[in-house]
């Protein structure tokens, strides 16, 4: 799943801590403000908790923890005004899915939330903007599908299945 499958593709670019990241727009169900979470006892620290998305319960992953980044300088205490970042609601397909299995595999789509500090942009990325998977200092290379450039600044295209898949497999 390293190359080929990415071109051309529309990406949502966002910031987690100091890191610019991107996800395929097709995998983003919606962008919500940060929602009040309910802790899930026993879940690993990377899980922020459970949120209510219009009646559906979704497990939310804390972005900076999942990417192994340092904690935000001033932890988001709810006292501040609304700019506490966003929650992306992502749709994870079956591992290696996308086949034409039809309805049989329908149940394997799972929703998961992912907190980010700021949504930056939406852009169409072609061959020329993306380079094949490549490590970026401080980021686990297995989570990186590709590296791209926006306004001269580097961003990584996240492998969401690798990043979030393990959280939900129980």
């Amino acid at each position: 799943m390293t190359d080929g499958s990415l071109v051309p593709v529309r990406l949502l670019v966002f910031r987690v801590g100091t890191l610019a990241c991107a996800a395929e727009v097709d995998q983003v169900r919606e962008i919500l403000p940060r929602l009040p979470t309910t802790r899930i006892p026993g879940a690993p620290p990377v899980v922020a908790g459970l949120v209510n998305v219009r009646g559906t319960l979704v497990t939310v992953v804390e972005g900076w923890r999942a990417l192994g980044l340092p904690p935000p300088p001033s932890p988001p205490t709810s006292a501040l005004e609304g700019t506490l970042g966003s929650t992306l609601i992502l749709e994870l397909g079956a591992p290696g899915g996308g086949g034409r299995g039809g309805e049989a595999e329908n149940g394997s789509h799972k929703l998961i939330g992912f907190t980010v500090d700021e949504v930056l942009d939406m852009l169409a990325a072609g061959d020329h903007t993306l380079e094949g998977r490549q490590g970026l200092p401080g980021v686990d290379p297995t989570l990186v599908r590709a590296v791209g450039r926006r306004n001269g600044e580097l961003f990584i295209v996240l492998d969401l299945a690798a990043l979030l898949g393990p959280v939900l497999t129980s």
């Binding site: 006892p41 026993g42 879940a43 690993p44 459970l50 209510n52 009646g55 497990t59 393990p166 959280v167």
Partner: protein
């Protein structure tokens, strides 16, 4: 005309008839001399044939037609069926069931009709040879030779004519409505009797509701059918009334399509009172009422806040609460389904498994009428199949071994449903060999499931050992059960439904599994408890009582804190510790509430920081992240829109 919209209906009705076929075959197999089953089989297959022909399912119509021929010979032959015939009929029922499924999926061509050769061969072999007897000459008609144990008048009536050549059949078609007295017992039996009598007068078509519905508990005694007969109306009426307890008979003239249409007359065969509803509709209704209940919670919170400004808001909130509660009740009721809808396929299953293993089993079902939410019932099928197979395979001994142990060679398995306080208990018990604790204990030690110093296993520990994935007690893995998958799969499924499993076993006497299930899934009453700053919901289903910590004597049990409640020691579970909750100082010990859970024989006291409310909650599933403590059965959305997790009593007790 596009019939596809009727496919589902065809499927549902065919399944009812096929299920009836299985029941009848089982009965016939047990009592080969009994004349009733073959008549019922004939009618069921005949009905399927008619429906299939209407739907244009040629292969099903053909298969059921040829099967009908065979059944007709058997019916007229009147001799007890050979084992070969019974086995063929079972296989034919299966083939028909498969074909029906395929046809509805638009793949009727794939239906395997290889069985037709056997059916036709036996049809030829069973062709009744006309034996002119005195009785037959008397009626100048072909006659069934001796049908034992039948009252004479019935025999005379039956002897006449179900044969296709019977002259009586060639008459006008009349529409007959019958109403059995509401207070009469066995209304279904009377209705069946009426149909049987009518068959002696001519050919019957289009029974409404379908004959299978006569056995249903809500059969209200109204039914209608079309009778093709030369008999006079008065004779028909006399024949109908002869079964007794008939309140009303209406005999119409020739029929046309519209006359049997639902709602056409007040007495139109009970049709006006029951309709089939697509399950998805009921699910949607349930989801919607769930959201309404959640919003109701919000409204009540708002009303409490604003009641100072405008007292009227409170009135509206109360009214809406009451209406939505009524609505919710109705929807839950509409989803309740008697367990026989799932249980009815088990007699056949048990018989097949027993036959395969050369065992003799008498299988009884009790409490068929007990109701459960449709969804729970659907999910219950597989676990029960596992447990029943287990019972036949591992529970019941081979006939020789049973004789050696001075037991009847025929083992007994009972599947029983019983309504308890707010749950339903379903037990599967056998009178077989029981589970050998010593052997299991050894095995558990060898596999490191229990410590080496454990000397005996309690029922509870035994179950835990048995339910370990991959733990097999079978000495040899058979293809019936074994492999140790049965119990852990069953247990996981039951737990996911918010239920529990218990086991009782005694060497040489038998084993019983008891499943306890909530009556309904989607909306339950729950206690909302505070632990630190967090809220958790505890369904009331298993809450026995609440007490205050410190008002009851403290003790320890197996090294853990416990309280003594009316002379029983109840172990405590401190939720703060269990859930790793920080923040919010716990209330001082004497004030801490303890929620006592009770599940069958097991009890536990759950220590929380406070009790917030008691309310209806809508149970929702969530994808539990890895590592989640196995003590949650789902989550709900509270009045403020924030989720709260639901504690699973089975995981705590």
């Amino acid at each position: 005309m596009d019939l596809s919209q009727y496919a589902e209906l065809f499927l549902a009705e065919s399944r009812e008839h096929l299920s009836a076929c299985n029941q009848l075959l089982l009965e016939w197999e047990r009592h080969p001399a009994s004349p009733e089953p073959v008549g019922g089989l004939f009618r069921a297959v005949h009905t399927i044939k008619g429906m299939a022909a209407t739907m244009g399912y040629g292969r099903i119509a053909d298969l059921s037609h040829r099967l009908e021929n065979l059944l007709d010979h058997l019916r007229r032959g009147g001799t007890a069926p050979t084992d070969e015939i019974i086995q063929l009929l079972f296989r034919a029922t299966d083939a028909l069931e498969k074909a029906v499924g395929l046809a509805v999926a638009g793949r009727e061509r794939e239906a395997d009709l290889a069985i037709l050769t056997d059916i036709d061969r036996l049809t030829l072999q069973t062709k009744p040879t006309p034996q002119p007897s005195a009785l037959a000459r008397h009626f100048a008609e072909p006659v069934e030779p001796a049908e034992p144990a039948e009252p004479l008048d019935l025999q005379r009536l039956r002897a006449a004519p179900a044969a296709p050549a019977a002259p009586a059949a060639s008459g006008a078609s009349r529409l007959v409505h019958v109403l059995i007295r509401p207070e009469a017992p066995l209304k279904g039996g009377r209705a069946t009797l009426v149909i049987r009598k009518m068959q002696s007068l001519g050919t019957i078509h289009r029974i409404q509701p379908a004959a299978a519905a006569f056995e249903s508990d809500d059969f209200d005694g109204r039914f209608a059918f079309e009778l093709e007969t030369g008999a006079a109306a008065a004779d028909i009426e006399t024949a109908v009334r002869s079964v007794g307890d008939v309140e009303r008979v209406t005999i119409g003239g020739g029929t046309d399509e519209s006359q049997l249409a639902p709602g056409e007359t007040g007495s139109a065969g009970g049709r006006g009172r029951h309709i089939r509803v697509d399950l998805r509709r009921l699910d949607t209704l349930m989801d919607l009422i769930g959201e309404l209940v959640t919003e109701r919670g919000r409204l009540n919170e708002l009303a409490a806040r604003w009641v100072g400004q405008d007292p009227e808001i409170d009135e509206v909130a109360i009214h809406i609460s009451r209406l939505s509660a009524d609505l919710q009740n109705e929807i839950i009721q509409a989803r309740m389904t008697p367990v026989w809808q799932v249980f009815d396929r088990f007699p056949r299953l048990v018989r097949d498994v027993a036959r395969q293993l050369d065992k003799q089993v008498e299988f009884r079902v009790e409490g068929k009428e007990i109701e459960l939410d449709r969804q729970i019932l659907d999910e219950l099928g597989d676990p029960l199949v596992h447990l029943l197979r287990n019972a036949v395979d591992h529970g019941i001994e081979a006939p020789a071994e049973r004789k050696r142990r001075k037991k009847s060679p025929e083992g007994e398995i009972v599947l029983a449903a019983v309504r308890e306080r707010s749950s339903v208990a379903i037990s599967i018990s056998d009178d077989g060999r029981g589970i050998d604790r010593v052997q299991i204990l050894e095995k558990a030690k060898r596999e490191g499931v229990v410590g080496p110093h454990v000397e005996s296993l309690s029922d509870d520990q035994l179950l835990r050992v048995l339910a370990r994935p991959g733990f097999s007690t079978a000495e040899a893995v058979t293809n019936v059960s074994g492999r140790g998958v049965g119990i852990d799969v069953a247990m996981t499924r039951i737990r996911a439904l918010g239920g529990s499993i218990e086991i009782r076993t005694e060497p040489g006497k038998g084993t019983a599994f008891v499943l306890r299930l909530p009556v309904t899934l989607a909306i339950v009453r729950a206690l909302i408890a505070a632990v630190g700053h967090e809220r958790y919901a505890l369904p009331l289903t298993y809450v026995a009582e609440t007490v205050e910590f410190g008002t009851t004597p403290l003790t320890t049990m197996e090294g853990k804190d416990a309280i003594v409640l009316r002379d029983r020691v109840v172990p405590l579970v401190d939720l703060r510790k269990l859930l790793g909750t920080n923040g919010g100082a716990p209330a001082p010990p004497p004030r801490r509430p303890v929620i006592v859970l009770e599940m069958g024989e097991r009890r536990a006291g759950i220590v929380v920081d406070g009790m917030l409310s008691q309310q209806e909650i809508v149970v929702k599933g969530f994808d539990a992240p890895q590592g989640t403590l196995p003590v949650f059965s789902g989550a709900t959305i509270m009045g403020d829109g924030v989720p709260a997790l639901i504690l699973d009593a089975a995981g705590l007790v």
